[in-house]
Amino acid sequence: MTGGRPKLEAMAYLDHAATTPMLPAALDAYVAAARELGNPSSLHAAGRGARRLVEESRERIAAALGARPSEVIFTGGGTEADNLAVKGIFWARRDADQRLRRVVASAVEHHAVLDAVDWLGRHEGADTALQPVDAAGRVDPEAFAELVRAHGAEIAVVSVQWANNEVGTVQPVAELAALAAAAGIPFHTDAVQAVGQVPVDFAASGAAALTLTGHKVGGPVGVGALLLGRDVTCTPLLHGGGQERDVRSGTLDTPGVVAFATAVEAAVAGRDEHVSRVAALRDDLVERVCAAIPDAIYNGDPADRLPGNAHFSFPGCEGDALLLLLDAQGIYCSTGSACSAGVAQPSHVLLAMGADDPRARSSLRFSLGHDSTKADVDALLAALPGAVERARRAGAWKTPR
């Protein structure tokens, strides 16, 4: 095992929530488009050719997700789309009405939303409020309705993810979006983890804006989209050519967009088959982990969760010690979000769900995807009990000496 790129056949890749292997069709589409010349904004034949690829891709994504083509704003990925929605809608709404200064997000959002909200609080005078979640990680619609009743006239934007990236809990998005819509509040949802895993229909959801990204659905990294309702005003983050509905500037990445659309289309079309296959593998994984390590805590909602997600706390272990031990055996998983220095922080998601610090630090996420097999689960189960036992022995290192 070296620091270099590992060989695919030698590993059990259980980190699809971090990034997925590219689908062969998406990779082929990327390479084919990358061979073509043309800026989609150019007016000549080459430009028109590129533009056609982009617009066809836009239509395919819109069709797959219940949106209109004009509602698809291509971005450089999920983080940009989240920032654009949260900041852009806040700015536009506040500029139209100075009383609209409140931003609401759930406490278990991805940092792309949480840190954008935090920034608005520190730099733009926004009142920020994080909606608490229950022990399964779910926002309570009743509590949300109460918040809207009390502060609806001040709320500029609400952001609640469709499904959680760590514990896989699916939020009652339609219910929350309806409550927001009834009060005239734009509702954004980060659906990065949800697309291709659960039914996602933008129009039916009632959301004003929805984030998705390519590399979680078998597409490339660096391309994503914000689905933005046509009647939702949004101030741009990036200024320039105004290529995307004047809301987002920058030359479009034609090959990336084409591969992204190919992947989204495939993920949505194949969802039913994918869900039944992956959920069965995941259920097998969970059952066997709980049998092998009886005190493991299965985090999140046991039923209403993403089909590929299995998230555990292993009492007495440090998640990063487990990760190291599994990594050395070619089994790749995640402890949660890592900061830029690579230091594992206790998961804010677990803490928001009421876990204490040791439990949050003892957690590990296994996420299955389109290429996962029973052999991956077998490999994990062969290594995990020994790793847990060893990590437990190392667990005492945090105690004061």
Binding site: M1, T2, G3, G4, D320, A321, L324, L325, D327, A328, S340, A341, G342, V343, A344, R390, A391, R393, A394, A396, W397, K398, P400, R401
Partner: protein
């Protein structure tokens, strides 16, 4: 062996990890995140554990071809090294935080965790020799020798330590880093105390301990010569920064002779009053063969050595120096060496508690 290489992001630890790999070990690189709020970039030769250092360590691991992780040791480091540093100064002693870090972090918290996770040893880029005979010796590069801050390690700790650089000069290590394509080959050496990024130790202590004005008195006459803002800001042997209004009668410079926390007094006097020839110390770590030995002792980092007769008991060490030494500060380590053509051998160390003058002045 499965070994864990502690990689600071500097040139020494990068080459040490590479040599361990070349020696046939299964090496895993770990960068220790020790700062609670890491700065983004290193400023000159000061500070450590910046995100830039972490990235440099990661890139070195990539080039060497070993797995790499970051371990968060900020709490342990803060409790065992930073707080200890502040407490020692508050008690009128002069601590060595690098020594404490080796004793409590690198060869304790890190080593214990590594062993528990299935590693056999910890590799570091310290300049010291630790050969097959198990003896700790000075580096061939005497200017870079770090045996002084490693002498605190017990036999059990040394048995699980690997120092691949002891036979090389720093110059050779840098050249080898360049040959290996390691980008850190020309990175500046780190100096000073890593957790005091601006180098202002007195300011750092004042921010932790607050201002505590007290007197500076003459050690011979008891006369009050001036005031200070905190006795912790002084070290035995210090001359600069006394800021005395009353000049010495003979016009000669005065030095800090002692610090008395109970009365918050700094005592000063002429250079000869600094001289001590008997040093007592506690918490001995002893590898030497006998309870009493004639050897050489070093009384501070990068300090000169002096021949001494050393007597060791389980709780204490007493060294009678062949000639008086100045600037012997409580809290520093006394390290005993046996001169050897293959590199002076560390016999043991202890923490200095007091120095005294037994023989009369010449």
């Amino acid at each position: 062996m499965r070994v864990l290489a502690a990689m600071s992001g500097g040139v020494d630890s990068a080459v040490a990890a590479a040599r361990a790999r070349d020696a046939g070990h299964d090496v895993t690189g770990v960068h220790l995140a020790l700062a609670r709020n890491p700065q983004t970039f290193r400023t000159g030769a000061r500070g450590c554990c910046t995100l830039e250092d972490s990235r440099d360590a990661r890139r070195a691991a990539d080039v060497i071809g070993i797995p790499f992780y970051v371990w968060d040791m900020a709490e342990e480091f803060h409790d065992s090294v930073v707080d200890d540093f502040v407490n020692e100064y508050a008690a009128g002693r002069t601590p060595n935080p690098c020594l404490r870090c080796n004793e409590k972090i690198k060869f304790a918290a890190v080593l214990d965790r590594a062993v528990a996770l299935g590693f056999d040893a910890v590799v570091t880029g310290h300049h010291a020799r630790l050969g097959a005979d198990g003896l700790l010796r000075r580096s061939v590069d005497l200017a870079k020798d770090q045996s002084y801050v490693l002498a605190v390690l017990t036999r059990a700790q040394l048995d699980r330590a690997i120092f691949p650089l002891g036979d090389s000069t720093k110059e050779r290590v840098r050249a080898e880093a360049a040959e290996r394509g390691l980008a850190v080959a020309d990175k500046p050496d780190s100096h000073d105390i890593c957790f005091i990024a601006d180098g202002d130790t007195r300011g750092f202590l004042e921010s932790r301990l607050g201002s505590a004005p007290g007197d500076i008195v003459d050690g011979r006459t008891g006369e009050r010569l001036g005031t200070h803002n905190g006795a912790y800001g002084f070290t035995v042997g210090q001359r600069k920064g006394l800021d005395l209004r009353v000049p010495a009668a003979d016009g000669r410079p005065r030095y800090v002779l002692s610090i008395t926390p109970v009365t918050n007094t700094v005592t000063v006097g002429p250079r000869e009053d600094l001289e001590v020839d008997v040093v007592t110390a506690d918490r001995p770590i002893w590898h030497g063969p006998a309870e009493s030995v004639t050897c050489e002792v070093q009384l501070r980092a990068h300090g000169e050595v002096v021949p001494a007769a050393v007597a060791v008991s389980p709780d204490a060490l007493v060294a009678t120096l062949a000639s008086p030494m100045r600037g012997v500060a409580a809290g520093q380590a006394i390290v005993a060496y046996r001169p050897d053509p293959e590199g002076d051998i560390v016999l043991g160390s202890a923490t200095i508690t007091a120095g005294s003058r037994v023989s009369s002045h010449a």
